[in-house]
C-alpha cells in the first residue's frame, strides 16, 4: 500500500509541476496575480508530493518491504538502520527521487521565500523550475520508477554495496544533490532574466544567495566523498581525477566562477551576459554529470547505477533543458548593455581573471574527461586521460588563480592602486616565501614544487587575514577602535575571508600530503614489527569479529614513536555475505593534523608456515587539512548566507520606523 501511495504521489508531483510551469507562465503572460499565486501554490504542492513519495520509499526501506523491486535490490534485513535509510538514495531510481526532491524543494523555496522578487521575474523563475520538474519527474515516473513491485516478493534483499555502507557516504549524496540541483534554481533565474530581457544589479543580488547555498552544499558533498575515498577505499588517495569525480567538480568550478562574476554584476553592473552564461552553465554541468555517472559512456572506478538505455534519456533531458537555455541566451544576450567600465588594475579585473582561470580549469577538466570519447568517435582509437594529465594542466591554472587571489579583495573597484596593495601584502608575501624555503629545507625528500605549494597556501591564508586587518584598520587606529570595526564587519566579509582561508588550508594539506606521504607494506606474523616514517608498528593479535551484517578479521597493532606507545590501530578486513564482497576498514590514528593510516591486508604464511598478514601503513602528513579546508569554505558560504538574511530582515524592520518618522 505504501508503495502505491508513493507511486501516486510521484505521478501527482509530475502533474503539479506541469501545472506550476503552465500557471506561472500564464500568470506572467496575462499579468494575473491569481494565476501567478496558483503557480506558486503548485510549486509548493509539487514539493509536498515528492516529499510524500520520498517518505514512502524510506518507509519501504526501513521496513524491508522486499515486494518493492528497488528495496529488494538495495537493502537487507541485517543492515543497520542508518544504511537502510541511506539505501533510499543508493540506487539509480532512489537517487533520482532525491534529485527530484531537491529540484521541487528549491522551486518551492523560491515560490514561498522570494517575496521581494519582481513579480514577473519570480513567475518566470517558478515556471522554468516547473518545466525542469516536468522533465525529471517524467523521467522518474516513466523510466526510473522506484515503486515497481516484485511478484513473488523475495524473502531477503541483495543489500547495498558494502563500500557504500559508511557514515560519510550515507550523507554524501544529500549534500551533493543539494548542490547539483541547487544550481537548477540559478538556471531558472537565468532563463527568467533572459525572457524578461533584464540582467541588472538586482538580479545578480537575487541569484547570489542561491548560488552560494548550492555551492556550499556541493563543497561539503565533494569533501565527504573525498574523505570517504580516503579512508574507505584503503589506499589513502582522496582524489583520482576519475570521470565521476570530475563530473562533480565541473559544476563546483563553474559555481565558484559564478559567485565571483555575480559580485561584479551586482556591485558594478558589469559582465551581465557572462554571469547569465555561467548561471546556465552550472546546472548544465550538473546534468552532464548525472548523465556521465549513470550512462556508463565513461569507465570509472565509481561507476554508479549504470544503465545505458536510461542514459540516453538523460542525455535527451540535458539536450532539451540546456539547448533551450542556451538558445534563449544566444537570442537575448547580445542586446544586454555591456555595463560598468573598469581599468586593467581594479577589483573587477582580478575577478575577471579569476573567472578566466576557473573557466580554463573547467574547460581542462571537461576536455580531459571527454577526450577519450571524442578520439574514439573521430579516429576510432582508444586513449586514456588520467591523473598525470590533470596534474600537469589543471594544477598550474589553479596556482595562477590562487597567486592573484589575495590582491583582489584589497583592490578598489573601477581603478585600483596595485603598488599600494602590494605594499600591504608584503608581510603575507614574506611569510609565504619563508614557508616555502622552510618546507624545502626541512622536509625530506626535497621537492621544489610542493614547497612552492606550501608557500602558496600560506600566501592565501595570510593574504585573507591581511585583508581583514585592513578593513579593521588594524595598527592604524587604536586597538579598541580596530576591535569595534572588526566586530562591525558584515558577515559576508567574514564569509569571504573564511572561504579564502579554507582554500589556503586545503592547498597546504594537499601539497604536504601528496608530496611527503610515506608508504610501507610488510607481511607481519604476530609479534613482528615494521617501520613507517617515524613510527614503529607491531602486530599484537588478530581475531575474528562478528558484525551486524558482516564477518571480519581484526588486527590489533601497537604504534610507537621513539619507544613510546602512541596509539593502537585496529584495522579490519570485512566480508559481507549478502553481496559476497570484501572491504577494508582502515584504522586512522590522529596525530595532530596528520594521520597514521593502517590497513589490514590478506592473510599469508611466513616462510616457516606461521600465519601472517599483509599490513600496509601510510604516514599522511597534514592530511586533516585536506578536508578541513573545504569545510571552512562551506562554513564561509553559510556565514555569508546568514548575513544576507539579516540584512533583508533589517531592511524590513527599518521600513516601518521610517514611516513613523514621516508621519510625525
Amino acid at each position: 500500500m505504501i508503495a502505491e501511495l508513493g507511486a501516486f504521489a510521484l505521478l501527482l508531483a509530475l502533474c503539479l509541476s506541469a501545472a506550476q510551469a503552465g500557471l506561472s507562465a500564464a500568470g506572467r503572460g496575462l499579468n494575473s496575480p491569481l494565476l501567478r499565486g496558483a503557480g506558486e501554490g503548485a510549486a509548493a504542492a509539487a514539493f509536498g508530493a515528492v516529499a510524500i513519495a520520498f517518505a514512502a520509499l524510506t518507509v519501504a526501506f526501513v521496513t524491508s518491504d522486499f515486494s518493492v523491486a528497488n528495496v529488494a535490490a538495495n537493502s537487507h534485513t541485517d543492515k543497520p538502520l542508518l544504511y537502510k535509510v541511506a539505501g533510499v538514495w543508493g540506487s539509480h531510481e532512489g537517487s533520482l527521487l532525491l534529485w527530484c526532491l531537491c529540484l521541487t524543494g528549491f522551486g518551492a523555496a523560491v515560490a514561498l521565500l522570494g517575496r521581494g522578487l519582481p513579480a514577473g521575474l519570480k513567475a518566470l523563475t517558478v515556471a522554468s523550475q516547473g518545466a525542469l520538474g516536468v522533465l525529471f519527474l517524467g523521467f522518474a515516473v516513466f523510466a526510473s520508477n522506484p515503486f515497481l513491485r516484485l511478484d513473488p516478493a523475495p524473502l531477503q534483499g541483495r543489500s547495498l554495496n558494502p563500500l557504500l555502507q559508511d557514515p560519510a557516504l550515507a550523507f554524501h549524496p544529500p549534500f551533493l544533490y543539494g548542490g547539483y540541483v541547487g544550481f537548477s534554481i540559478v538556471f531558472s533565474f537565468a532563463v527568467a532574466a533572459l525572457i524578461e530581457g533584464r540582467v541588472d544589479a538586482a538580479w545578480a543580488r537575487w541569484v547570489r544567495p542561491w548560488t552560494l547555498a548550492a555551492w556550499s552544499l556541493l563543497t561539503v558533498g565533494i569533501a565527504l566523498g573525498a574523505f570517504w575515498a580516503y579512508y574507505e577505499l584503503g589506499w589513502g588517495g582522496w582524489w583520482f581525477w576519475d570521470p565521476v569525480e570530475n563530473a562533480s567538480f565541473m559544476p563546483w568550478l563553474v559555481g565558484a566562477a559564478l559567485l565571483h562574476s555575480a559580485i561584479v554584476t551586482e556591485k558594478r553592473g558589469a559582465l551581465p551576459g557572462w554571469t547569465v552564461f555561467l548561471a546556465l552553465a552550472a546546472f548544465t554541468f550538473s546534468m552532464l554529470g548525472a548523465f556521465l555517472v549513470r550512462s556508463g559512456v565513461l569507465t570509472s572506478v565509481h561507476a554508479f547505477a549504470v544503465d545505458p538505455a536510461r542514459g540516453v534519456l538523460l542525455l535527451g533531458i540535458l539536450g532539451i533543458a540546456a539547448g533551450a537555455g542556451f538558445a534563449l541566451f544566444a537570442w537575448r544576450a547580445p542586446s544586454f548593455a555591456p555595463g560598468g567600465v573598469f581599468a586593467p588594475v581594479s577589483r573587477e579585473s582580478t575577478l575577471v581573471l579569476n573567472n578566466v582561470f576557473l573557466s580554463a580549469a573547467t574547460a581542462t577538466v571537461l576536455l580531459g574527461t571527454l577526450y577519450p570519447l571524442i578520439v574514439e568517435a573521430v579516429r576510432g582509437d582508444a586513449v586514456s586521460v588520467g591523473a598525470p594529465y590533470f596534474n600537469l594542466t589543471f594544477v598550474p591554472l589553479l596556482a595562477a588563480a590562487l597567486l592573484i587571489l589575495p590582491a583582489g579583495p584589497l583592490l578598489a573597484w573601477k581603478r585600483g592602486d596595485l603598488k599600494g596593495v602590494l605594499q600591504r601584502l608584503w608581510a603575507a608575501a614574506g611569510l609565504a616565501v619563508l614557508a616555502s624555503v622552510a618546507a624545502y629545507a626541512l622536509y625530506d625528500p626535497k621537492k621544489a614544487f610542493a614547497a612552492l605549494g606550501v608557500g602558496l597556501g600560506v600566501w592565501l591564508i595570510a593574504g585573507a587575514l591581511v585583508e581583514v586587518g585592513e578593513r579593521a584598520k588594524l595598527g592604524r587606529v587604536p586597538g579598541a577602535e580596530a576591535w569595534r570595526r572588526l566586530k562591525g564587519l558584515p558577515r559576508g566579509a567574514w564569509g569571504m575571508t573564511l572561504a579564502h582561508v579554507g582554500l589556503g588550508v586545503f592547498v597546504l594539506g594537499a601539497c604536504t600530503e601528496t608530496a611527503w606521504k610515506v608508504e610501507a607494506a610488510e607481511t607481519l606474523a604476530l609479534g613482528q614489527t615494521m617501520r613507517v616514517g617515524a613510527y614503529e608498528l607491531k602486530l599484537e593479535q588478530a581475531s575474528s569479529v562478528d558484525g551486524p551484517n558482516y564477518l571480519a578479521e581484526r588486527g590489533v597493532l601497537v604504534a610507537t614513536k621513539g619507544g613510546r606507545e602512541v596509539c593502537r590501530p585496529e584495522p579490519e578486513r570485512r566480508f559481507y555475505p549478502a553481496s559476497r564482497q570484501t572491504t577494508s576498514e582502515v584504522a586512522l590514528c590522529f596525530r595532530g593534523l596528520s594521520d597514521l593510516y593502517v590497513v589490514l591486508g590478506e592473510r599469508r604464511a611466513t616462510e616457516a608456515g606461521e600465519p601472517a598478514w599483509l599490513v600496509r601503513a601510510y604516514w599522511n602528513p597534514w592530511a586533516r587539512l585536506i578536508f578541513l579546508g573545504p569545510l571552512l569554505m562551506a562554513i564561509g558560504g553559510a556565514i555569508s548566507l546568514s548575513d544576507r538574511r539579516l540584512r533583508l530582515a533589517a531592511a524590513r524592520k527599518a521600513a516601518p520606523a521610517a514611516k513613523v518618522e514621516a508621519a510625525a
Binding site: 556591485k267 575577471v352 578566466v356 586514456s384 566480508f575 591486508g601
Partner: protein, 168 residues
C-alpha cells in the same frame, strides 16, 4: 551465525580479487634497489590497468596489473629507460595504456586547449578594459564617483562599503 575462522578465511580469499589495495606496494613484488623501485612506482602511476575501471597498475589488484608490474619492474632492473618502457607498452596495448597522453600532434588540442582558453580570456579582458579607457577619458572626482556608484547600484551600499571607499 558464529563465524568459523576457516570459513571466514576462505571467503576472504575468494573475495580478495574484488578489493583494490594499492597493490603495487606488496613486499613480495618489490625490487631490491630502492631507487629502481621508486622509478618503477612512478611509472606504474602513468600506466593504465587495461582491463580495470580506470585504475593505474599502481592501484589495481587485477592479475593483469600484477603481470604488467612484474614486466615493468624487470625492464627497470634491466636498465631500460622510461621512454623505452612506455614505447614497449604502447606497441603491445596501444595508446590506451598510457594515463598521460603523449605530447604529439594528434594530441595537440588536448595539451594546448587549457592555455588557449587563458590566452583568449586575457585578450578579452584587455579588449574590455581598453574599450573602457576610450569611454572614460577623464578621471572622476570623488563626488562624481559616489554618484555614479549610487546610480549603477540603484541601492544604497552597506555602511562598511561607504567607509571603505575612503581607503586609498
Amino acid at each position: 551465525m558464529k563465524p568459523h575462522l576457516a570459513v571466514l578465511t576462505r571467503a576472504l580469499a575468494t573475495a580478495a580479487a574484488l578489493l583494490c589495495l594499492a597493490a603495487a606496494s606488496d613486499p613480495s613484488e618489490r625490487l631490491k634497489d630502492p631507487a629502481q623501485e621508486a622509478r618503477a612506482r612512478a611509472l606504474f602511476q602513468e600506466i593504465r590497468c587495461v582491463v580495470c575501471q580506470n585504475e593505474s597498475i599502481d592501484d589495481s589488484d587485477a592479475d593483469l596489473a600484477g603481470d604488467l608490474r612484474r614486466m615493468v619492474r624487470e625492464e627497470v632492473a634491466a636498465g631500460r629507460t622510461d621512454a623505452q618502457i612506455r614505447t614497449g607498452l604502447v606497441d603491445r596495448y596501444g595508446e590506451f595504456v598510457l594515463l598521460k597522453p603523449r605530447f604529439s600532434w594528434t594530441n595537440a588540442a588536448l595539451w594546448t586547449a587549457p592555455f588557449l582558453v587563458v590566452i583568449l580570456g586575457g585578450v578579452a579582458l584587455l579588449v574590455a578594459t581598453r574599450r573602457s579607457r576610450q569611454v572614460q577619458p577623464a578621471e572622476l572626482t570623488p563626488e562624481e564617483e559616489a554618484r555614479l556608484a549610487r546610480l549603477t547600484d540603484n541601492t544604497v551600499p552597506p555602511v562598511d562599503e561607504i567607509t571603505s571607499k575612503g581607503r586609498p
